[in-house]
């Protein structure tokens, strides 16, 4: 039943995307590890990491699309769930450093030794075990989202108000994680990781492995999300977006409908963050900044909200643009990003995929009209 549930949601677009991901999962590690560096087909490790980063963002965009595109909840705080997942992974990686830190303390991470802490805070226990950390990657964002959503949806905070309090949530977390006494490394965050699951985190093979893991996670996330949105529950979700009170008077518990999508989405964002941290090698409070969260919104908007493939596409395109701009014209990047926000909302409300769909429809309409027109013309000229 589960397989049928999962596969039922996949349309052509999904199959194309999944095939591309499958090809990348094989080709990228091969080109990076096996092809000699002299060959034009060779990929540098830097590129692999960059691609891995894009796909982490794509998973975040996917999770955001699930709530914004399908349920109408514009979250300006999804970066918080991403960062929490990242911190959970970061804590595991910190514990893996062991006595190889600067201070050589087997138990305490460097920054705690530096702050003169004598023992590990209770909430750091268990993070030396990967399965526990992996559980927390999903659980911590999930529980926060559940609690936040439970309160917010029950009291019917909607629309802009909800957006603003999600922003306040991530802002509060940003301030909190800046504090040294929180025990998460304060300003500097968690960094200087050595190994993951016993493999050297800098080794090319590990990096390729992390890339493959990210692609697989994105594929799973995509399959799961399409299964959800194409189920009857997914239709209810869209119905909530379009006419919330109607759904209520049909007897659906709108709060629960929202809460499920919201929590699921937060868990996905957490996984994205957890895959992001070992690849970029650091997690710090700036991931909680409201600007980071709102940037994720624009990825979804550019790609086309309400289409899962659009979210993935948007994340990759915008971030590629960011890499390119910051390399070539760094001072122009904020203009470009800002302009993107304005242009997309004004002229591309459905994003790139939506535009493509509209164009195809219009083309079809014109063709049929042209055909009808020429028929009419023939009739008119006929004697």
């Amino acid at each position: 039943m589960l397989t049928r549930f999962l596969l039922a949601g996949l349309d052509t677009k999904a199959w194309v995307l999944l095939s591309v991901l499958a090809v990348l999962a094989v080709a990228v590690p091969f080109m990076a590890l096996a092809v000699p560096p002299t060959s034009p087909w060779s990929l540098s490790m830097l590129t692999v990491t960059l691609l891995g980063k894009y796909f982490c963002y794509a998973l975040l965009a996917l999770s955001l699309d699930l709530v914004w595109g399908y349920c109408g909840i514009l979250s300006l705080g999804h970066g918080a769930f991403f960062a929490l997942g990242g911190y959970a992974m970061g804590m595991y990686l910190m514990r893996q450093i062991g006595s190889r830190g600067v201070y050589g303390n087997a138990e305490l991470p460097d920054f705690m030794v530096f702050l003169n802490w004598k023992e590990l805070p209770w909430y750091w226990h268990g993070f030396d075990m990967f399965p526990f950390a992996a559980l927390m990657v999903v659980l911590i964002p999930g529980v926060l989202a559940f609690a936040f959503g439970w309160f917010a949806f029950r009291s019917r905070v909607t629309g802009v108000y909800l957006s603003i309090i999600t922003q306040a949530m991530t802002f509060a977390l940003l301030l909190a994680f800046f504090r040294n006494d929180m025990g998460f490394g304060g300003n500097n965050g968690l960094t200087d990781f050595k190994e993951i699951l016993g493999y050297d985190i800098q080794a090319p093979a590990t990096r390729a492995g992390l890339f493959v893991a990210t692609v697989v996670a994105l594929a799973i996330g995509y399959i799961l999300a399409s299964a959800v949105v194409s189920s009857k529950y997914g239709k209810v979700l869209v119905a909530v977006r379009d006419a919330e009170s109607r759904v209520r008077f049909l007897g659906y518990d709108v709060e629960k409908v929202k809460l499920f999508a919201w929590t699921l989405s937060a868990c996905m964002a957490g996984v994205a963050g957890a895959l992001y941290v070992p690849q970029v090698g650091i997690i710090n409070p700036s991931e909680f900044s409201p600007a980071a969260s709102i940037e994720a919104v624009i990825w979804v908007a550019v790609g086309g909200r309400g289409t899962l493939a659009g979210a993935v596409l948007g994340a990759v395109i915008v971030n590629y643009g960011k890499t390119w701009f910051t390399g070539v014209l760094p001072e122009v990047w904020l203009f470009a990003l800002g302009g993107l926000f304005v242009l997309v909302t004004l002229f591309l409300p459905k994003g790139i995929l939506g535009l493509a769909g509209d164009l195809r429809q219009r083309l079809a309409a014109r063709r049929s009209r042209a055909a009808a027109g020429s028929n009419a013309a023939k009739e008119a000229t006929a004697p």
């Binding site: 549930f5 009857k232 529950y233 119905a239 006419a243 009170s245 209520r248 007897g251 518990d253």
Partner: protein
């Protein structure tokens, strides 16, 4: 005499000092079709809001099937007890097809997980066909609801209401924007529904109310002004004053 299906007892609602409902009492029998008329601001829509749980009254109780006080319950619970509501402005899910609209309304478990793993059963399919026939939307089953004409949306919403299979239907101005023929059909449909379901119709259109030919309640300034057949109430001097005096 049977117990009433719905019994509003001394219900009052005020918004910032304005009394939308003032000590309103009303009784609806099982299977009854009731028309409610009244000038603008008489409290018709507020009354529906109170029954469906959208608005909490300041005073009074709303008893359903004798022992359930609706004023304590939330909208979805009330809907699942068997009260359906049609809005004044047709409200359907514009991005879903007619078929999906009806599917969502069908009386099935409303939980998240039953929604995730739902598959259309043979029984459900039959029921949807039936509803498509009743609402005459069969040819448009795959059309997105946003693309329907105004009257078609009204019918689709009524169809969704029927799909819920409620014990009580609240219908707010069902014929607004309909052609005369459609109005007549709607009156016919509502009469057909009553008997099995109780129906409360709020309407301005006197022709339509006459066509329904049922007991009429006149609301004015949040209270009941008169009750009886349309002829009786139209002869009532107070009612005349209220309508003509304005």
């Amino acid at each position: 005499m049977t117990d009433p299906l719905l019994y509003l007892d001394g219900v009052s609602v005020s918004f910032d000092g304005f009394k939308a409902l003032n000590n309103l009492s009303l009784m609806i029998d099982p299977g009854e079709l009731r028309a409610i008329i009244g000038p603008n601001g008489a409290g018709k829509t507020t009354m529906m809001d109170v029954i469906t749980g959208k608005t909490r009254p300041d005073h009074g109780t709303v008893m359903f099937e004798g022992n359930t006080d609706l004023t304590k319950l939330k909208e979805s619970t009330i809907a699942n007890l068997g009260i359906g509501r049609k809005f004044q402005r047709p409200t359907v899910f514009e991005h879903h097809t007619v078929l999906d609209n009806l599917e969502l309304a069908l009386k099935n478990p409303r939980g998240v997980f039953s929604g995730l793993f739902y598959k259309v059963s043979e029984e459900d399919r039959k029921r949807i066909e039936e509803l498509l026939d009743i609402t005459k939307l069969s040819p448009k089953r795959d059309v997105v609801a946003g693309g329907l004409a105004h009257g078609e949306k009204q019918w689709l919403e009524i169809g969704m209401l029927l799909a819920q299979d409620p014990k009580l239907l609240l219908v707010d101005e069902p014929v607004a924007g309909m052609t005369d023929a459609e109005t007549e059909q709607t009156a016919h449909l509502l009469r057909a529904i009553s008997g099995k379901h109780s129906v409360i119709v709020v309407e301005h259109d006197m022709v339509f109310v006459r066509e329904l030919g049922v007991k009429v309640t006149v609301l004015h300034e949040g209270s009941m002004l008169a009750e009886g057949s349309l002829d009786t109430v139209s002869a009532n001097q107070q009612v005349i004053d209220v309508y003509l005096g304005r």
